[in-house]
Amino acid sequence: MTAAQTLLGPTATLAQLTTETGNTLVAQNIFFAIIAVIMVFSAFRVVTTKNVVHAALHLVLVLGGVAAIYVLLTAEFVAVVQVLVYIGAIVVLLLFGIMLTEARLGKDQNLNNDYRVPAVITAVALLAVMSYALWDQFDDQKLPEPRFSGTDDPALVDFALDEYPELFDELTPSDESYDAQVTEIIQEREAFFNGVQDTEEVSDSIFSTYIIPFEAISVLLLAALIGAIVLARKE
């Protein structure tokens, strides 16, 4: 390999990588903008609408937007739990709460109290302070790129060979097409290698490092369940 090739080779792949990740970045930013606009609008409707049921349905949009934001942040498992627990359970509970109390379907002029102006002042002042602090501290700090750029990423090949050697048992390393066969096996299991890391790490740390908080949460949920039944039960 000549010196020029040594210099050009990595440069070429680097340029390719930057355009590829650049395109993904543009797409991610466009989706982020769409999701953010929907979320902020729906959140405004939740706190300003005069119809209680509409507020709950706008809350569904906000919670779904949060799940989409989790996907953008590569937290797929948290996104699925968000959809299951929030949209599947909490919103239904809130709707039950609305139905069991003042089931005034339609407009209700009496939803806000007399503290609207102080509330606006508090919220705007809080937002100003928080935005200033965030800009001051993080300015234009970027989130790190995903660990692997694709199935042909050498780092992913090393990772697969180290962590899952049983997948490559049938191959002989001395074979000429060994590298190609390894890449083929990784491509067959692309979804596995792209998606498994975060979820696997989450489950590993919940059931090892965070086992005591996890058990505490279980007891808390049980206590909350019993408490809710005792409170809401008719005498």
Binding site: V52, V66, L93, D108, L111, M130, Q141
Partner: protein, 99 residues
């Protein structure tokens, strides 16, 4: 993607939630606003977890979701109790402790 775009979105959601908690009269609406606040916190946790490439952010977000579920369960039971005793969920009328 910038870290700040996520943190600012969470800040906006948080402030909208704070406005809702202060300005709403209906107890169920206050609970909804509390959900907005908890979700803003969760976005922050996951974003910082992504920034440092650690999984703890996800774990804490999951714990916050579990606590939020418990909170809504107990909160709605309380709201139903208040409604049964006062025939209203207007928080301004729950003033037994006022001197």
């Amino acid at each position: 993607m910038l870290l700040n775009q996520f943190l600012l979105l969470a800040a906006v959601l948080f402030c909208i939630g704070v406005y809702g908690v202060i300005a709403r009269r209906n107890a169920v609406m206050v609970l909804m606003s509390v959900e907005l606040i908890l979700n803003a916190v969760n976005i922050n946790l996951v974003a910082f977890g992504r920034l440092h490439d650690v999984v703890f952010g996800h774990v804490f977000a999951l714990f916050v979701i579990a606590v939020a579920a418990a909170e809504v369960g107990v909160g709605l039971a309380l709201v139903i109790m208040i409604y049964r005793n006062k025939s209203s969920v207007d928080l301004d009328q729950v003033d037994l402790m006022r001197g």
